[in-house]
């Protein structure tokens, strides 16, 4: 297990390298010059030259990449072109906010999704299954930014029970675990949970239905196990599949939802990305995407390890 862990971590190094190269290139392929975003339109050419030298945009791209990567490895992602703030500082605080929001959404989404999916799979073809499936389809089909706005209209505007935007009273971004702050989490977390509910539900449902059709379930009943024990076996059998999907979904959630975070002005990575894109803030963009991509790589390793632990058929020692 340890050797597999080490190997798996080593595998992720080239992946991370490839990812960073892609990120660097993509941002430079996109139209728009970062200098033109900060310098006034009528700035004289020598000023623009100076700015280019200051920010390092005068060097050839491979050199820029090497320099950027070298600094990134030490945790320095440069300074924001727009605000002059340290990118890593801003990204880290945004990542913290996004993690908090996504974990809440994941908690809601995975519990509901797996629960509904299990009930539906166990009652395949019956009314309960159809109801649960309808919820899942609705969850996947409804545009969630629209749902977010509807929730805001209902709960913030009409009923006036929950705050519409931000993550603290008066737009403060200092978090505390009290009701005044936590109520800001509710609407965005629910909105964000809708897609994972649908996807986890469908996966769980089909996995449960498939396992129930296997002969060993009949064999378990034949040896006199109570239905509760049989279901225990089913859970253990569907766990690898469902966990894999949950891991991917958590990855997407941690990637931050640009739409949801923008709708609710949640100061997370999605919100940060959105702002950076509009400001042509290339260092900020690169830094944020890099951190998110590394998250995804890391999460895949974790899911792999968990799967290996739950499913004896996956032998990777």
């Amino acid at each position: 297990m340890i050797s597999y862990l080490i190997r798996r971590l080593l595998y992720s190094v080239p992946i991370a390298l490839g990812v960073s190269l892609m990120i660097f290139m993509l941002v430079h392929l996109a139209p728009g010059d970062p200098i033109s975003a900060i310098a006034p339109a009528d700035a004289p050419p020598d000023v623009i030259e100076r700015l280019k030298v200051d920010y390092g945009y005068d060097k050839p791209l491979p050199v820029q990449f090497a320099l950027w990567l070298g600094r990134a490895v030490t945790g320095d992602l440069g300074r924001s072109v727009a605000t002059g703030q340290s990118v890593s500082g801003e990204v880290m605080s945004a990542v913290g906010n996004t993690i908090m929001l996504s974990l809440c959404a994941a908690l809601v989404g995975f519990t509901l999704g797996a629960g509904l999916g299990f009930v539906a799979g166990y009652n395949q073809g019956r009314a309960l299954d159809k109801a649960a499936t309808a919820i899942a389809i609705a969850g996947i089909s409804v545009p969630h930014y629209w749902l977010g706005m509807v929730l805001v209209i209902v709960f913030s505007v009409q009923l006036n029970v929950l705050p519409a935007v931000g993550m603290g009273p008066g737009g403060s971004s200092d978090w505390a675990w009290d009701w005044a702050h936590m109520q800001h989490l509710i609407l965005p977390a629910i909105t964000l949970a809708v897609i994972p509910i649908g996807i986890v539900m469908r996966t769980t449902r089909s996995a449960v239905a498939e396992i129930l059709n296997q002969e060993f379930v009949q064999a378990l009943r034949a040896k006199g196990l109570s239905e509760r024990h049989v279901l225990g076996h089913v859970v253990r059998n569907v766990a690898p599949t469902v966990l894999a999907v949950m891991g991917l979904q958590l990855g997407y959630l941690l990637g931050g939802s640009i739409l949801i975070e923008t709708v609710f002005s949640w100061p997370g990575t999605g919100f940060l990305l959105n702002t950076a894109i509009f400001r042509r803030d290339i260092p900020m963009l690169q830094g944020t995407i890099l951190v998110l991509a590394l998250f995804f790589v890391f999460l895949n390793v974790v899911v792999d390890l968990i799967q290996t632990a739950v499913d004896p058929r996956i032998k990777r020692a």
């Binding site: 009949q218 040896k223 196990l225 024990h229 004896p312």
Partner: protein
């Protein structure tokens, strides 16, 4: 080991001549999307302790369905049972769900055709055997593990202690089936149901498993219902044979007379189509046609469409059971003559 197992078994004080199993007018119908399927259409038999009944038939004859009905294993929502199944004084078809799970695995247990599919792939063999013991005998996990080890040794699995910790996919087919037998025998059942337990195995392993099964059956004094389509296997293990066709026993009796006299043309056809029945160089005979559609059975004799002796009257009436000898019966009008 086996001696220890037998010691514990309470002396069976069965009243004389009351059979362990008695089945009367068993019918099994499955509700499907397009109408119902009559898989078993009136099966009667009795089986005494320590005896082996083999149900012989081709695929779709209803033999496995009959077997699974013996512990009401078909999905309750889609299945309608009729008739009566008495096992050790209990009517299986009238038991509550709670009583039923007490009987399954302890009084009646089952060996499945494909051991790879019949074990839960994510638990060890040892766990799955011990789980059954804990379930039925309420012993501690440790004792159950010890018992699992004894059982694996009883079915002659080499290095049993190591195999306890093995997962099903880590064992060979023959070994898995031995483990399945160990599992089925773990709570000393009175009745063992065996659903083509040797069909999925290599020919050499088949024989070993069969011999083991017969040896254990004799040592433990179990009754066995053994389902197979292999005449040779049937002759090897059976005391009684029942030949099944379209959900009915069309011929039943002790193994010698059934194979020797073959009252029913279908039995005759089955024997002619096996290598055991033909000698070298002779062409094997096949039964023309295929088994009837159970959703719409023909009136009269259900074998009539494939029978080479068919007459007009075969298609007209239900064929009664003829008993030319007290314990040998068949459903064919030709016996009447």
């Amino acid at each position: 080991m086996t001696a220890a197992l037998r010691q514990d078994a309470a002396p069976v004080a069965a009243p004389a001549r009351v059979p362990l199993v008695s089945v009367e007018g068993l019918t099994v119908k499955f509700k499907g999307g397009d109408g119902s399927i009559a898989a078993v259409n009136g099966v009667d038999f009795t089986l005494e302790r320590g005896k082996v009944l083999t149900i012989l038939g081709e695929s779709g004859s209803g033999k496995s369905v009959t077997l699974k009905a013996m512990m009401r294993l078909h999905p309750a929502r889609k299945t309608t049972y009729g008739g009566k199944i008495m096992i050790g004084g209990r009517n299986i078809l009238a038991l509550s769900e709670r009583e039923l799970v007490q009987v399954r695995g302890s009084v009646v247990s089952m060996i499945f055709q494909e051991p790879m599919l019949a074990f839960d792939p994510v638990y060890t063999i040892g766990h799955q055997i011990a789980e059954t013991v804990v379930r039925h005998e309420g012993v501690s996990r440790r004792d159950a593990d010890k018992r699992a080890l004894d059982l694996l040794e009883m079915v002659q699995i080499p290095s049993a202690a190591r195999r306890l910790k093995a997962y099903p996919h880590e064992m060979s087919g023959g070994m898995r089936q031995r483990a399945m037998i160990a599992l089925a025998l773990s709570c000393r059942p009175d009745l063992l149901l065996a659903d083509e337990p040797t069909t999925a195995l290599d020919a050499t392993v088949q024989m070993q498993v069969l011999v083991l099964l017969r040896q254990l059956q004799r040592e433990m004094g179990m009754a066995v219902i053994f389902v197979t389509h292999d005449m040779g296997v049937a002759a090897e293990i059976a005391d009684d044979v029942a030949v099944m066709y379209a959900g009915r026993f069309i011929e039943a009796g002790p193994v010698g007379p059934v194979i020797g006299k073959r009252l029913h043309p279908y039995t005759e056809g089955l024997l002619a189509s096996t290598v055991h029945g033909a000698s070298r160089g002779e062409r094997l005979e096949t039964i023309p046609g295929s088994p009837p559609n159970l959703a719409k059975l023909p009136s009269g004799c259900s074998f009539a469409p494939r029978c080479k002796y068919v007459e007009q009257r075969c298609r007209e009436t239900e064929i009664p059971l003829f008993k030319p000898e007290p314990d040998h019966s068949a459903r064919c009008l030709r016996i009447d003559r």
